[in-house]
Amino acid sequence: MANEMATRLAYGEALVELGRRDQRVVVLDADLSGSTKTDLFAREFPQRFFNMGVAEQNMMAVAAGLAHAGKLPFASTFAIFAAGRAWEVVRQSIAYSAANVKIVASHGGVTVGPDGGSHQAIEDLALMRVLPNMVVIVPADGVEMKKVVETVAQVQGPCYVRGGRIKSPVIFEETYQFRIGKGVCLRQGKDVTLAACGLMVHQALAAAEWLAKERISAEVLNLSTIKPLDEDLLCQSAAKTGCVVTCEEHLVNGGLGGACAEALGERLPVPLERIGVRDTFGISGRPDELLEYFGLTPADIAAAAVRVMSRK
């Protein structure tokens, strides 16, 4: 059994380490610090932690102000509130002025589970991806989340990083080096490209195993940076395999699937299938049940691979 860790916990731990090294780091939360794991930072650095209460919009504006004062603010809440509730404040006060604010949201996707559709952000990547100046990242596991936190702290400008609620298998070694805008090929193949982000990377790897038994050679890409997308890696892979399946815990519109469709449409039109939620909201249930309900399992990815290959 692989080692497992929730990306939100990795975030909380990385933030504490970063806070020890960098006095500029300040953290804001909107009454969800126990869930987003910013409580770890709050305990160690109470002076540099600001609980803004249940007021996500103001949290984003205050974060922008702290950035203008030379601080390095990390603002956290659930993805639906960070990207949805506060969207226009993020646009005006953060993205528009390229403020150095790092929005790290937890509870992305349907694996939020029993809380239901109101709390399952399936549109956050689309909302953040359309904003000029905004970098959008969905780490695949806890190791990548830690590397992402270290990396975004070193670049100037706004970033949106999405984490998940549930534990997921650790894919990367501690020596892994994350670079913004650079995807990683996790498994070489020649018949079909599986491009994934977040915990769907693990699902895509499992699908590739399943496909291998059917003598189908699948290449698996971790495209954790949704914006700017690693179009070169995507197109190199698509040129080799001739078809692509995108896999994300998000609507098929506007997120990774949308970004890949745009890039391939402009640069290398090949048959494409998108695994994701299709024009509906989430529902309550266990995360594993919901992955099945919304067609986000390795079996669903493998079936899409077979479909897309038949269209070559």
């Binding site: 300040v26 002076q47 540099r48 600001f50 803004m52 209460g53 007021a55 919009q57 103001n58 984003m60 504006a61 205050v62 974060a63 922008a64 102000g65 702290l66 950035a67 203008h68 004062a69 030379g70 601080k71 603010p73 226009e88 404040v89 005006q92 006060s93 528009y96 002025s97 390229a98």
Partner: protein
């Protein structure tokens, strides 16, 4: 121009100078809006005296160093009054007088609403109402962490106080006892669709802000001495944030525009400009 080297002016000495600066700023506002052909006349004119009192009668700034680390910060939360801010920044020397006549043009540093990336002296980009106070609070908290004695000022409109976010920021500023933050309300009583009291009443403003834990002062927003004095009183209040509710007249200084909601988003025509400049005592050119 008054020297603005990290000092507080004595309003009794400087008062005539401040009043004249405000007159000149109104002239600039009208000229640049006329040239631009669009923009917000009424709410710019109502804010002119407040801005002049702040920038020339109160704030710690250096004319030769807009990015001085110890400077006081100003956030124009009612971003549509940008022309008034630009006029003041030009008087400070942060902008060239020529820049003013490029307002709202392609590639101008003077965007329709203040853009911090493009315009020296603009601390935060604003324009979407309700967000400036939160940003000002962030600045105040950041400077307090750095143990800077700088203060932060935010100018809001009264119509703007219909935005829920203003009250999120009000709550947070009191909670964090941000004594280095002063808000000013340009209380001109009018908004685009009519009287604030009729569109969506925000009064009683003083009682509301006091209930939110703020030190609230109320002044005539066109009485230069009263504004400067209120700014000093607010700065001396150490228990938490202060707000100065400045009773103003929309379109102040130009009878064509005074107290008219219709002056909110319309620039003066050539004829209106001529009449207005005459009323402001500006000698006509030729």
């Amino acid at each position: 121009m008054a020297q603005v080297e990290s000092r507080m002016l004595d309003p009794r000495e400087e008062l005539p100078g401040l009043v004249e600066l405000a007159r000149q700023a109104r002239v600039d506002v009208l000229k640049m809006l006329n040239r631009a052909g669009s923009g917000h006349t009424g709410g710019s004119l109502s804010a002119v005296d407040i801005l002049v009192a702040l920038f020339f009668g109160h704030m710690r700034l250096k004319a030769d160093d807009p990015c001085w680390r110890m400077r006081d910060r100003f956030v124009l939360s009612k971003g549509h009054a940008a022309p008034a801010l630009y006029a003041v920044l030009a008087k400070l020397g942060y902008l060239r007088p020529d820049d003013l006549m490029t307002l709202r043009q392609v590639n101008s540093c003077l965007q329709g609403h203040p853009d911090a990336k493009m315009c020296t002296g603009v601390e935060c980009s604003t324009g979407s109402l309700g967000q400036g106070l939160g940003m000002a609070l962030g600045l105040a908290l950041g400077m307090r962490l750095d143990k800077l004695s700088s203060r932060v000022y935010a100018l809001l409109g009264d119509g703007e106080m219909q935005e829920g976010m203003v009250w999120e920021a009000a709550m947070a500023a009191a909670h964090y006892r941000a004594a280095n933050l002063t808000a000013i309300c340009d209380n001109n009583g009018l908004q685009i669709d009519g009287r604030v009291a009729e569109v969506m009443n925000v009064e009683p403003l003083g009682a509301k802000w006091r209930a939110f834990g703020w030190n609230a002062l109320e002044v005539d927003g066109h009485d230069m001495e009263a504004i400067v004095s209120a700014l000093q009183t607010a700065a001396a209040h150490e228990a938490g944030p202060s707000i100065i509710i400045a009773r103003t007249v929309k379109g102040k200084g130009v009878s064509l525009f005074e107290n008219r909601a219709s002056s909110h988003g319309v620039a003066p025509s050539d004829h209106e400009l001529k009449v207005a400049l005459r009323e402001l005592g500006e000698v006509p050119l030729g």
